[in-house]
Subunit: 403 residues, 2 copies
Amino acid sequence: MKLTNSYIKGLYCSKCGKKYSAREVNHLCECGAPLLVSYDLERAAKELKKEDLRDRPTSLWRYKELLPVEYEENIVSIGEGMTPVIPLPAAGARLNLKNLYLKDEGIIPTGTFKARGAAVGVSKAKELGVDTITMPTNGNAGAAWSIYGARAGIRSVIVMPEDAAAITRKECLAAGAELYLVKGLISDCGKIVGRGVARHGWYDASTLKEPYRIEGKKTMGLEIAEQFNWEVPDVILYPTGGGVGIIGIYKALKELQEMGWIGEKLPRLVAVQAEGCAPIVRAFQESKKESVFFENSSTIAFGINVPKALGDFLVLDAIYRTNGTAVSVTDEELAAALSVVAKTEGIFTCPEGATLYAAVEKLAASGFIAGDDKVVMLNTGAGIKYPDVIQSEIPYLELDAEL
Amino acid sequence: MKLTNSYIKGLYCSKCGKKYSAREVNHLCECGAPLLVSYDLERAAKELKKEDLRDRPTSLWRYKELLPVEYEENIVSIGEGMTPVIPLPAAGARLNLKNLYLKDEGIIPTGTFKARGAAVGVSKAKELGVDTITMPTNGNAGAAWSIYGARAGIRSVIVMPEDAAAITRKECLAAGAELYLVKGLISDCGKIVGRGVARHGWYDASTLKEPYRIEGKKTMGLEIAEQFNWEVPDVILYPTGGGVGIIGIYKALKELQEMGWIGEKLPRLVAVQAEGCAPIVRAFQESKKESVFFENSSTIAFGINVPKALGDFLVLDAIYRTNGTAVSVTDEELAAALSVVAKTEGIFTCPEGATLYAAVEKLAASGFIAGDDKVVMLNTGAGIKYPDVIQSEIPYLELDAEL
């Protein structure tokens, strides 16, 4: 049994601070709030060197000391992480921005950033001896956990709204998961899963109901810091549904600060939502610490159709503490943005990721983003998972046709 | 204008050896055979060190000295290459194989290995001042060239059989390509494209009709060598349609040999085809140097539905010279293989890639593959691009359902 040399100390409540063990299954705190993982960063700062990363594998496991898995044999990996940061000179120039980048989470197993949470979450579940995982999902998380679950030999029970991206169903099935559809939203699926957990004692992998998914998402922040040579960019935009990514990125940056690997400056974090489902934006505009359930939510960016996130207060906290902001865009604006980024930069983003360029346009106009700011858009998935977003008549040619 | 320090010398005919310039547009040789790129490998051997790669970007451009692009500014890149080599312990154990690996080309822009050919091909086209690219395609190559073309500012005219994977149409459209569908095979599309080329002088990017796509595919061979620490594996299996990948891998290994970066041993190269379209397998069985047009071809692995490849003689040559072989599998066998690899290893391969595990099973049974051979299956794309391969009824749950 080879140690990863993880600096994990344990779990603590994100609201009341109560401590829990990371060597047994724990979900939410008694007080109902999500648990977070703590590390011995003082020791990490002394022992771990940036140069140690140089010859590491180009997966998120290069940061294994800052991840919660304690034994190498429990790592479930199919090549996830170190996604490229791609300059967007043409799309940037249209908005008079000199340093616009896209970190492309489409180039990862399962085609979305959900692979990060699943890789770390499933690995830790394996370490904890879990045999059945269950979750409600807007599609991609369920697909990713099913896939990693298959590799780990863990059974998955997935409940998904029928409107979720159709391809994600096929991934669950290919991986051998037990999949159910619901005529409703992820919140409806969550209630069904909750009853299943109570009845069968399954491992509840719902967003933020287990503490390790966020550790996987955290690696996006670690990678951005490393990819910018430990000089963090000025702005990071993130399409926000459950918000685990923005919480994870913030947690990563704070941990790197504590280790002295980055300086005092933090990027301004921007939560981008669809106008049809913008609970975080509303709460931000009203300077609230928590959001209110967004009634009758609707958007083509289905992955961020989350009317009320369990970690909303952590998302808002990350925004406030980094002098960030929250912006919403319409489905029309995101469709136009998707087209511009694909046609000028050759990057076919998912609809959720496309909200970001629309948001950048607004924030450049408002002055929140300056012309020479380094701006990173976190495209959370590959456009190929959402073929229905592109609609067009395609002409047929006869065999003897002339072009 | 920053030089890449490419060691490119020029082009030569793969059949008659006639030389051509790589600084002007050249397609086939006068004799009708494909042109290949030559490099000054003697100088490369003296000047380039394996250690130079250590701090290179984890994209295929880490090998830029062995690629045909001469100026950095012409490189069109969105993070392609250095795809993971993933061990398959469970799927291997089922066949009593100790060292079975899958190199996953699904984790790349556009979700298939076609991105490699497109990245290098489009970059060189940009360097040569091309304004319009055209090609017949079974889907994924057209998608990839459209996407890279968009980033390069080059117009794409794509002709595709209506049976090609539907998602690839959407990629072409998203990228702004001019797309046409044909009720026929890629060979029918090729005739239409050929007339368009003759009429308009467009750049013909058909398989092997321009010399640079193969240089992109070559990087799979370079990566495998580097990822196995310059001790090449014993067997590499490749799903073979046009065969550019196997030709490219062979070319890469020969170049590395000439530079002294790998020893005398070469992996045995295995071309895997569908029983419904197996011209290379037939030719191999008959010890022929070229294949015969495969009439009425049909397979669910549409990407390898290529009844007669322009480079068939190069594929066969690579097989013969490495003591390799050629194997065909049925659609039923590939479907079963896809299921095993997804359910036991968490890797959702494309149907073309799934042929490989079925072939490994046959070759392990025949003794061609020994239990401790290091075997690499080159999965050419992500299963998510082929959602229709997975068919199943999915149960619905009512809102008040109990799991």
